[in-house]
Symmetry: C2
Subunit: 358 residues, 2 copies
């Protein structure tokens, strides 16, 4: 039996609080489904490694982590001490880019037991994926200032899209759509305002679509698409978007499904050359950190996605994934619940309950 | 009594259908409140000028329109015939930029008579403004392709932010916040991912805030801000954002308040050197054009904003604005309603009813 080597990076804030619960449930699932995991912990965070060394990770981080099958990541960021763009470009965004985790896969689902903030929507009305490009586009540290410190000061910020980067995310999204019952793909664009990159995105989309005759597709400008998430979420099946648009839609989608507090994500290197990374969509949430009240569900759900990906189609792993989701829904319906879900249980009580429900 | 010269551009699609209703209500309000309007029509649209001349407007458009006090604009775009980026950069976006309409002001309000798509929200819970930068930022046609037609193909897209552009929109938003009872400002950012321009935006924000000690403020990354529009719209008072983020938020906000079908906007040149422009947030909607079923409310509400701006504080104009809003709410509550609002009245019936309610 293969042993999967997992790099565990709890990070900062509530990342440190939800990680033990994620691991608790992973271990329970591994035991029940006969999966072997070997976890190694790393304290690469603002409040850990950074304070001692002035950088987020040791210089040989790449070689170190490359030996793992997956990264299980809590959250990073402690803005009062380290500016976000330093902590995030020094870890999370480095992983995504250097390990070529070019797919950020984010399920948006109205879970059993979660009240929907949208009036009149039922559980099956919200069940889709956001497929977000995860390495290029608008997320860029290329650009600069001119006439600095004067009235004429101006800032140039570059977005960079490559054919390779655009085509592979579109392909992943079309493949996913093809595998689902509805076989529908929606693309985000903004070619009417962002006049160079977005028409290019549209062009590649139209070309890719020709190879998927069984998939129906449409595209919307990001503004109206955001509006439609609220007004008609039942229309969506697979939504593909650039890095920035995917970022926005994958917070908005979970909000429409009740809360971003439980939303998971998978940063995938589908070619499996580098480790993929699994992390909650929520961040380190400094405002509630240290009180053991954070909801561990997103961390746990991300763990389920990790097992599924590690299994690469094997039914035992798929079953483990489904069992975790089921346990999550049982606890969301019956409690215990953390305060964000209207309860008064703490982080470990919820984690323990989900592990037990398994 | 001053006569206000209005350039009327109905444009394409439903723009042509809602404009007569906008004018009908404007005329009724002008008569009742003793305001003198002198309207001139222009057929600058895809389905008009463009078909005959291969461009959206005559070359002397700037000099022609400069002589007007305001532009009353329907919608432009007929994507089956003219690509959006050509029609929009050839008219709407040119007006915004060349007439330095640097503020795009968009009220987000849950109107009496409109069912809210968010569960459990009452009328007063949604009542804020999106103040969108309207001339620079992510809306740019600067950039280009490299290695075109090969596997290595890549696209660079420039965003351009100037100190002048950022400071003046922040100032407008803080001034507006200061004039409102809640005195609260929220800024959109994404400095954790967009690493050059957005930290600059944050920096200017912090500086500007120092001059407004009575205004409380906060800022959110655009992803979580979009989520909060859905989860807690009652938190917002004035929301200031870059061109792209403001575009997204000003479709999302109205969706949370029921429909983007009734949302108005004002493209302001606050210095009054150039004409300001008033237009519905919805576009030309080719899918429903030609059937006289479009909702004219956004066009009418935009007309109310135009009167208010033309009055420059004068109480007669303010009263005319308020009377139109009131008439809109009466018809939204009591009907007649267009199909998008669940009724079966046509565009002119709704326009006529609002004019009569006035
Ligand atoms: C039509 C389009 C270019 C425009 C924009 O993005 O500004 C529209 O969406 C708007 O919000 O006025
Ligand atoms: C923390 C931040 C850089 C990150 C992103 O924008 O990608 C987060 O919002 C996410 O969605 O994973």
């Amino acid at each position: 039996m293969k042993t999967h080597k997992i790099a565990v990076i709890p990070g900062d804030g509530i990342g440190k609080e939800v990680m033990p619960e994620g691991l608790r449930v992973l271990e329970a699932a591994a035991r029940r489904f006969g999966i072997e995991l070997d976890c190694t912990h790393f304290d690469w965070a603002c409040a850990g490694y950074y304070l001692r060394h002035g950088q987020m990770m040791p210089s040989d981080w790449f070689e170190t982590l490359k030996a793992y099958d997956a990264i299980y990541f809590g959250a990073v960021g402690w803005p009062d001490v380290v500016p976000d763009h330093i902590s995030l470009w020094g870890s999370l965004l480095k992983f995504r880019r250097d390990f070529d985790q070019y797919v950020n896969l984010r399920p948006v689902r109205l879970m059993r037991g979660v009240p929907c903030p949208l009036a009149g929507k039922k559980q099956d009305d919200i069940d889709f994926y956001v497929v977000r490009e995860n390495t290029e586009g608008e997320y860029s540290n290329v650009g600069g200032k001119m006439f600095e410190g004067t009235e004429r000061e101006l800032v140039l910020q570059e977005s960079v899209f490559t054919r390779r980067g655009v085509d592979r995310i579109l392909k992943f999204a079309f493949d996913l759509a093809q595998s689902r019952p509805k076989r529908h793909l929606t693309a985000a664009t903004k070619s009417n305002g962002i006049a160079i990159s977005m028409p290019y995105w549209d062009e590649r989309l139209a070309l890719m679509a020709r190879q998927y005759l069984e998939v129906t597709w449409d595209k919307y400008h990001i503004d109206i698409l955001a509006a439609r998430f609220v007004l008609s979420p039942e229309r969506f099946d697979v939504v593909v978007a650039s890095n920035l648009f995917g970022d926005i839609l994958s917070d908005l989608g979970p909000a429409c499904a009740g809360t971003i507090g439980i939303a998971p994500s998978a940063n995938l290197n589908p070619d499996r050359i580098f480790p993929s990374m699994f992390e909650p969509v929520h961040g380190s949430a400094p405002d509630i950190a240290g009180r053991n009240i954070a909801n561990p569900t997103a961390m746990i759900w991300s763990g389920a996605m990790m097992l599924d990906f590690l299994g690469n189609g094997a039914s035992r792993y798929r079953a483990a994934h489904d069992a975790i989701i089921n346990a999550i829904e049982t606890i969301l319906s019956e409690g215990p619940r953390t305060p964000d879900m209207g309860g008064n249980a703490d982080t470990s009580q919820v984690g323990t309950a989900i592990a037990a429900a398994l």
